[in-house]
Symmetry: C2
Subunit: 460 residues, 2 copies
Amino acid sequence: MHDDSKAFETLAARYGARFSRSQALREQHGGGETHHAVAAPDAVFFAESTAEVAEAVKLCAAEGIPVIAFGAGTSLEGHLGAPQGGLSLDLTHMQKILRVSPDDLDCTVEAGVTREDLNAYLRDQGLFFPVDPGANATIGGMAATRASGTNAVRYGTMRDNVLALTVVLASGEVIRTSSRARKSAAGYDLTRLIVGSEGTLGIITEVTLRLSGIPEAVAAATCRFPDLVSAAEAAITVIQYGVPIARVELMERRLVDYTNAYSKLSLPAGDTLVFEFHGSAKGVEEQVETVRGIVADYGAAAFDWATAPEDRSRLWKARHDAFYAVLAARTGSKGWATDICVPISELAGAVALARDLVEEAGATAAILGHVGDGNFHVMFAVDPDDQAELDRVGSINAELIRHAISVGGTSTGEHGIGSGKVAYMREEYDEAALAVMRAIKAAVDPKGILNPGKILPPPA
Amino acid sequence: MHDDSKAFETLAARYGARFSRSQALREQHGGGETHHAVAAPDAVFFAESTAEVAEAVKLCAAEGIPVIAFGAGTSLEGHLGAPQGGLSLDLTHMQKILRVSPDDLDCTVEAGVTREDLNAYLRDQGLFFPVDPGANATIGGMAATRASGTNAVRYGTMRDNVLALTVVLASGEVIRTSSRARKSAAGYDLTRLIVGSEGTLGIITEVTLRLSGIPEAVAAATCRFPDLVSAAEAAITVIQYGVPIARVELMERRLVDYTNAYSKLSLPAGDTLVFEFHGSAKGVEEQVETVRGIVADYGAAAFDWATAPEDRSRLWKARHDAFYAVLAARTGSKGWATDICVPISELAGAVALARDLVEEAGATAAILGHVGDGNFHVMFAVDPDDQAELDRVGSINAELIRHAISVGGTSTGEHGIGSGKVAYMREEYDEAALAVMRAIKAAVDPKGILNPGKILPPPA
């Protein structure tokens, strides 16, 4: 499709090797990290500036060619597929850190900067950017999917940490969504509208972020529980006590085994919580004492401390690699991650339901999650060629989503809708709310060229 | 206008005294607390349920009659005026607290519940709702204007504390914008789009809020500085140190005098910061020690502690009444409050500029603000009949706004745009961003009946 378009001809002539129709590149840009089928775009363009993104979008808009923004390619819900063909707009060459203001605890970066690169850059200034999805995603992609991660319980998600965006609209016009002020009541919140819009309303090219100071003291510990539900209940109680915990992560016993094997760790076997405490030295001590008391009530073993910074790094690296650890447990498998998020009081019930469903199905899978937010994943390693198995996992996913929605939760805490959860939007929102989303999409992208087929189900 | 409409006839017949065309009531509903001219609606309807709001909006929509939502009437930027006439939809009868979930730290309330009523209700459960604009506003109005207040530096604004909304659309349809989950990546963030939309995209009838636990320890103190800029710089340093301060408020020396007179306090004269510390007993102690060291570097006098809860309440009541204290200093005056918010490193410069402009003009005014956010106000007491004076104050307002925008800030940190700042939207946003806002408005409210004339300037 679109092969004889003027847009592609122009981009090819102007940008040489930065515009490509190689099959390998197209296929790599039409998939993600999971079971979703690849839907390759017709071409890939590596843009190097906002102006080039605007130019490419303008060219495509003139001929109604779809444009799909692409960052690190770590999407889990089929955000990157091009079901109607079109141009994959790869932003990974846009890697400049444009400004860091330590005095204001903020910075502005190009969309292709990865979270790890940003944090490496910030470290010397005593600053860090806390949002950390498992993958080393780009900041632009994280903003586009409203990503979060292990630190969200204390530091919030991309929704809370993006101050402003530079966005290329479907017309090729460029807007700045807001100022650098910490708060503003000036008009519609375009920043929050674009955050989480998955490239369907505009293409994010620059991001202004809140930063945090590296805390004076950091302590991390793992802690085993007699069973999964006790671990979940302990996490709930920590949150209900109001402990300003930086991270509290649940790792099901199976995941501990997978992770020990994959990441060469020697965590004690069993259902585990991983805690991290941030604050002053005294503050951390106090938090640790409070949490120690709580976990004891749920039958926990003693804390295993990761005291040295390198031990902590290994531990969190392993936690971030959990998805790959599950995949490694089954040769040739692809991943499928559920992502429900429920009010915290509903967490233990939801986790128990997930465990029962996984055991019933005999799946290669493990439960883990950002339980401080009420968000957890079942990571399945599936055979992508076994339709019966995919259907079984799909049913578990559906059952968890329906349960989450029935108790006041959401189908996706942080992975987004992409193409994978479009059908559930109808269960999560009433038709009138979906109509508002569709009206906004039609108003902002009247030709429907921006990442078509994502987020919005067709009208009922 | 609209006097012989079927909508008004139907509402009058159905609701008796809850529908009124009395002049006094109309005028009271067409103004706010400031200098903006009253623009009275044609009628006022006191709705008692979401269904009644939906019915009234549907009736008005059929005839293109404007509908303006009304809460406590404490708007400072002319949000409530009805320049094209229409119906003022008063939500103050919707006062039910529908649900409080201590285990999830959230609640759902009707839009007409006031923040003081909510907090009185929550106190016994050890919970509070932290967002506190000066006035005893309704939760619906606070959501509609993206309000904040003294606690925002620690607890965030309405943007951060609203989890979900029930909204009546311009069609009369009712939507729920999201779930009770702490975070979600499911589609467009309608919650954040409606928060701050000032009744122009929909009418908020129910609000689901995050709550906070009442901290174990609370300490409040005032602290005098040799001059205004030293006080501002001390506040900046406290923030840059990362002290998790709950409140840090600047009161210019003039305001201290006005407040002592109006609220019968005896604060020591001078430019003052008011601090509040929340946390565990040890944590508060530690914060106090850090802040004590910082303020000493800026030549501060010793802390004056407000130790007893009733002393703290009096202090914050006085702070919240600052607007009225300035008005009381000039008989027959009306208020005019500026509201710029700048990156924190720009705060001292902006405050100094404001002080110079006020002194030059010889105005009855005082500076105060939520300096931890970079947000402050100049509260002017103006003679509403003296056009030359209004023009002078208008010029100061304009100069502060232009300065804020030039240093990366915003024209309004928390009061909103209303009708008062529409003209500045063009300076704050590029035309393409305004076009996106207009496109959204047209898509969601195609007849333009919801609070017309607010927020959006006409196309350039």
